[in-house]
């Protein structure tokens, strides 16, 4: 039976349908500050973070380790108290409530399945604490195990399950009490690559089917980009940017976001004037003129940075065209679908170019060849920091 319906999409067959989407705010974080320790040794984990997560949204907190994303998740769950600020869950202020009084459940990074309880007892744990009656618990547990396709393994102990199966038990256990918000703390990081990729699709499907608001914490940008409705990029305890996957990749607001999401080339420039459609012109130290779309409102003479994604640059034969930037080919790295090429501008600045092998463009060059770079329209993004 399990083979007939791929993935976790059993949920539709079970009648767990997505409720109508509303514009309601599920979780609202208001000016949250969290400091660990006191005095000169104190560490600020969250520095005035404010954000709203909509009902029914797949929201991701993305950032490098130590950026405060897990601390924020633990604050929503109730495991950490905050130094300052407020947390609202569907309009109710919750920061004073202990974790067991919050209608929020968590999928932990290491699953945290209770090792002395079988699979069904693990899934039933939350329902038992909520004092549901035995018949209701039993039917909900089997419904949940069917949802994650583990109904055959109900009597196993966690230690007898594979990593992927434990992951599914953790999901079933967290979803069983039908929380208003599901928190996921890097739940895929312990799985191997293939399973991780499959689980991404399943998690997204599960979120859409159940209609529960998911708050997902990860340091893996690919995970964030593939699953999320919106992503908050965090660094050093602050939210750097909130937006869709497309927003944060194509239109980063600062150098951190541009550099953290994907690969990019960052060049120091000086703003020289304005161009059509809100674009501005600027010039690098060695006199390369670029037209770019700015993040913010630059003034003539401002020092700023330009971010150019390597796949938006094409490596061509040397050219006298006005927009061609002369360069020397350095190292070529064959990546299968693409070839990545490090080239040097005349002043030695290293630029990364990635071109699809379908065009065969980069493969015709060898190390030391003279070449030229051509930027796609709108490839250059001006960042004001």
């Amino acid at each position: 039976m399990a083979g007939a319906v791929p993935g976790l999409s059993n949920s539709v067959a079970l009648g767990i349908m997505k409720p109508p989407s509303t514009d309601q705010v599920a979780v609202s974080i208001k000016s949250v500050v969290k400091t660990f320790g006191e005095g000169p040794g104190a560490v600020t984990a969250l520095d005035d973070v404010s954000l709203d997560i909509a009902d029914n949204e797949f929201f991701t907190l993305l950032g490098p380790s130590g950026c405060g994303k897990t601390t924020l998740l633990r604050i929503i769950a109730g495991f950490e108290d905050l130094t300052n600020g407020a947390v609202f869950l569907y309009g109710d202020e919750i920061e004073q409530l202990p974790p067991n009084k919050r209608p929020v459940n968590t999928v932990f990074q290491h699953y945290a399945l209770f090792p002395h309880m079988g699979v069904s007892e693990n899934v039933a744990f939350g329902l038992r604490r909520l004092k549901h009656d035995e018949a209701a618990i039993r039917s909900r547990v089997s419904e949940m195990l069917e949802l994650v396709q583990l109904d055959q393994l109900a009597d196993r102990l966690p230690a007898q399950l594979s990593g992927g199966q434990q992951q599914r038990v953790a999901l079933a256990r967290a979803l069983a009490p039908n929380p208003k918000v599901l928190l996921l703390d890097e739940p895929l990081s312990a799985l191997d690559l293939k399973l991780r990729q499959a689980m991404r699709v399943e998690l997204k499907q599960l979120q859409e089917d159940t209609g529960i608001t998911f708050i997902f914490v990860t340091h893996d940008q690919e995970e964030a980009l593939t699953m999320s409705d919106r992503i908050a990029v965090m660094s050093a305890g602050q939210v750097q940017q909130i937006g869709s996957a497309d927003d944060i990749y194509e239109r980063p607001v600062n150098r951190f976001v541009a550099d953290f999401i994907g690969d990019t080339n960052l060049l120091e420039v000086k703003v020289t004037g304005t161009a059509a459609k809100g674009a501005v012109t600027c010039e690098t130290g060695q006199g390369i003129k670029l037209t770019c779309l700015p993040a913010g409102a630059p003034k003539k003479g401002d020092r700023a940075h330009v971010s150019i994604r390597p796949e938006k640059i094409t490596l061509t034969q040397p050219s006298r065209a006005k927009d061609a930037i002369p360069c020397t080919v350095g190292r070529l790295i064959y990546l299968g679908t693409d070839t990545q090429c490090l080239v040097n501008l005349d002043d030695g600045t290293e630029i990364m170019v990635r071109n699809q092998n379908a065009h065969g463009s980069a493969l015709q060059f060898g190390t030391g060849d003279k070449a030229a770079l051509k930027l796609d329209d709108g490839a250059a993004r001006l960042l004001m920091d």
Binding site: A77, F114, P158
Partner: protein, 270 residues
Amino acid sequence: MARNSPRTLRRYPGFRWVAGGCLLLLYGPMIVITIYSFNSIRSITTWGGFSFDWYLKAFNNPNIQSATANSLIIAIAAATTATALAVAASLAMIRGPRFKGSEFGFALINLPLMVPEIVTAVASLIFFLAVGINLGLTTILLAHIVFCIPFAYMPIAARLEGIEGFYEDAARDLYASRWETFRYVLLPMMLPGILSGYVLAFIISLDDFIITNLVAGPGATTLPLAIYGMVRVGFTPEINAISTMMLGVSMIFVTVSYLIGRSGAKSKGS
């Protein structure tokens, strides 16, 4: 890796002799005691044939009977109380917030391990006399509880330290109160440590001599005191029989404790 394997260890010069000598010193006397407990004649040096006479005699000796009963009552009561206190102490020390003097608390719990037993014995005796508690089973029990705590504490604390905090987070997240978190998650996970702590405390209480001897007072006698009393009068195979039975009980307990610890380590998994 290969350096540490038993095969290469055996190649060290003199290893066999040192190991054999140690084993002989440790287990030789016990083997002799066990063998002579089945002697049919009243000698502990010449073998007169096989019999269970001395075991029957020991069983029917009223002094031994009452001493055994006292020992068991005290061992059970002391081990139970000490284990309960050790569980509470380990939760406070390991899971509680760091408090002022928590290191002092740790030292205090483990003090009976460092202080020479005779010092504890004399100090306890003086204390009991000073506060005016009549020496007897009560004083033995109080003294035993105190020196059993570190023995119960060690395996329990080691076990608790090995339990990651996220299990309790998960329980709290799934609507368990603090008590339910302890009752349904932490306690079952600590159980192997608690059982081995209990067994250790029980054994330590059962065979204590020095402290017991000082705080026992005239009437109350435990098994080690009774054996000592008999040895002073004269050595008979009856003592061998009693010692062999104590040895058997200890071995059973240690084996059980080991098996529990092993199954605990296994069920903890990855």
